[in-house]
């Protein structure tokens, strides 16, 4: 068994098991937790819980006007790499084929050349995010090991993917194997670190929105 066989076989299989098990475990544990009975009377004139949840989800997609200028970099850069990652993951044919091979689901994808460019932009954006985290005193103060590790497991597949398609430094099968292993690392870490926001971001914002609306905020 060579490195590529290991990556495509045991490594990615174990990573998928950890990803799916960990995600469902954490997600269901939170969703079924229930909330304490709220005996207060909801404020009048506020939207119901669903409307409030949706309002909060969309409202948080742009910064509050007060901080719009100060947060302009985080806002813009954050959108760039999130959309970039989505395009690379769901718009590149070989990635979709991984999903199709597993589930049978498939959808139209982008020309590979477009994805390469988006991947490069995403990489630059992720590096910029790290620079910002290191140079901004406040961000630096509130950042822990988990933040930096989350950044690393995100950027590593982007780098290895670009290196693989660019055929840089080693034979393609080796580069492809390293790319798949880097994705395996991401999968294994995703349910347990801050990257779990991929699943929780709208849950937490919606919950907050519904809670605050009841209080009239």
């Amino acid at each position: 068994m060579d490195l590529l066989d290991f990556a495509r076989g045991p490594a990615i299989n174990v990573a998928m098991v950890v990803l799916v098990f960990g995600t469902l475990w954490r997600l269901l544990a939170i969703l079924f937790l229930g909330k304490p009975a709220d005996r207060t009377v909801p404020r009048l004139g506020m939207p119901g819980p669903v409307g409030a949840a949706l309002r909060e989800i969309f409202r948080r997609m742009v910064p509050h006007p007060t901080f719009a200028f100060a947060e302009r970099f985080s806002f813009f850069n954050g959108w760039v790499f999130h959309i970039g990652l989505a395009i690379v993951v769901f718009g590149f044919r070989p990635h979709v084929l991984f999903i199709k091979n597993l589930t049978g689901l498939s959808w139209p994808t982008l020309p590979s050349g477009v994805v390469y460019v988006v991947g490069a932009i995403t990489l630059v954006s992720l590096v910029a995010a790290l620079v910002r985290r290191l140079t901004n005193p406040v961000q630096r103060f509130i950042s822990g090991v988990g933040d930096y590790f989350a950044w690393f497991v995100t950027v590593f597949p982007v780098i290895t993917g670009l290196v693989a398609v660019g055929h840089v430094g080693a034979r393609y099968e080796t580069l492809l194997a390293i790319h798949i292993l880097s994705v395996a690392l991401l999968f294994v870490w995703l349910p347990f670190g801050k990257l779990f926001h991929a699943f929780l971001v709208f849950v937490s914002r919606g919950t907050t929105g519904a809670f605050l609306a009841r209080r009239g905020v």
Binding site: D2, R8, G9, G22, L24, L28, F32, L33, P94, L97
Partner: protein
């Protein structure tokens, strides 16, 4: 049997001038991407060379490799190799049989001690004392070790000889191993493929004949001149890959329009061979041109790499079943964790 005449003299006796060597070297030099000066030297050296004694051993194989090397339509350029070598032993091509041919093998070995080349196609069974393949009452292992003892070099022809090939495929019932696993004290050159491209076989022999040395090999023992680049990088369908145009089925419009076969399991990106440039049958076509993805036949264990029709980016093994099990276990664990937390909270409230 090898004699003392040079190849130039031999061909001259058959009314062929030394121009044949110039032409042969031009052709081979172009195939192997040798510098033109080296090609010229090759022509001169070939004319001066003695006929190379070759002993061809066939073990666990299908004779497809021999078929490949002998597939030529007329007495042309590609056939000159048969004037350059003296094929002193070959199960399929030899006229003699029985004791006589075994005696011929021993005679060739004695006469060309240290100079003959052993070509092997097929893998060697090692399980149960190697009884699964024998010739003249000897196991393949014994025949191989006896024959390579005084050889100059060994050329493994075909994926079976190079890496074990199909006999070695899971579960490898005969305990098949490659020639390189057994021969450690001689240069072993691997010309893999199922079968190999004939020019890769003849070119390597001609190179040894001209320069008296083994050509530059890659980490899997393959001549870089023929196995230096992967199929994908030289594939004429590569632009479709870059444009994201893939055939989704063997009979869809994309397949008819000649789009990239990556999605149908093509192993071109991880397969190193000259099919895309040299092609087959004198440059007529190669598998991808005929509409089927590359199987990766020149790579070790190509038979056991998770399926010919699984795309390269797809996982191999029972991933779907594992994920299903993980989903179930994860759901149970999540609901259980929530239940435990609720129970604790309510008991706290009571207490």
């Amino acid at each position: 049997m090898a004699d003392q005449k040079t190849l130039g003299e031999r061909l001259a006796e058959h009314g062929v001038s030394r121009r044949a060597f110039v032409k042969y070297a031009s052709w081979l030099g172009s195939l192997m991407a040798l510098p033109p000066a080296t090609s010229r030297a090759m022509a001169a050296e070939l004319a001066k060379a003695k006929r190379q004694s070759v002993i061809w051993l066939s073990f666990q194989e299908c004779t497809g490799c021999t078929e490949s090397i002998t597939r030529s339509k007329g007495p042309t350029l590609e056939d000159l190799i048969f004037d350059f070598i003296s094929l002193d032993y070959h199960h399929t091509l030899q006229a003699a049989s029985g004791e006589a041919i075994e005696a011929a093998r021993h005679a060739a070995m004695a006469e060309n001690k240290g100079k003959y080349v052993v070509v092997v196609d097929g893998s060697v069974p090692m399980k149960d004392g190697g009884i699964y393949s024998t010739t003249a009452g000897h196991s393949n292992y014994d025949t191989l070790m006896e024959t390579v003892k005084d050889a100059f070099a060994v050329i493994s022809v075909g994926t079976c000889a190079c890496y074990g090939g199909i006999p070695k495929a899971n579960p490898n019932p005969t305990g098949a191993v490659s020639i390189g696993d057994l021969v450690k004290d001689k240069p072993v050159i691997n010309i893999p493929g199922c079968p190999p491209i004939p020019e890769a076989m003849t070119g390597t022999v001609a190179y040894i004949l001209s320069f008296g040395k083994v050509p530059e090999l890659d980490h899997l023992g393959r001549p870089k001149a023929f196995f230096g680049e992967n199929i994908h990088d030289r594939c004429y369908r590569r632009p479709f890959y870059e444009r994201g145009q893939f055939a989704h089925a063997f009979d869809d419009q994309g397949a008819r329009d000649g789009w990239c076969l990556y999605e149908l399991g093509c192993k071109g990106p991880v397969t190193y061979n000259a099919c895309a440039t040299m092609k087959w049958n004198g440059g007529v076509s190669f598998p991808i041109q005929s509409g089927h993805g590359c199987l990766g036949c020149s790579e070790p264990d190509f038979w056991d790499k998770g399926g010919f029709y699984v795309p390269l980016s797809g996982s191999i093994g029972p991933t779907a079943k594992l994920v299903g099990g993980a989903a179930l276990a994860g759901a149970v664990a999540g609901v259980a964790a929530a239940a435990v937390a609720r129970h604790r909270k309510s008991s706290l409230n009571k207490g």
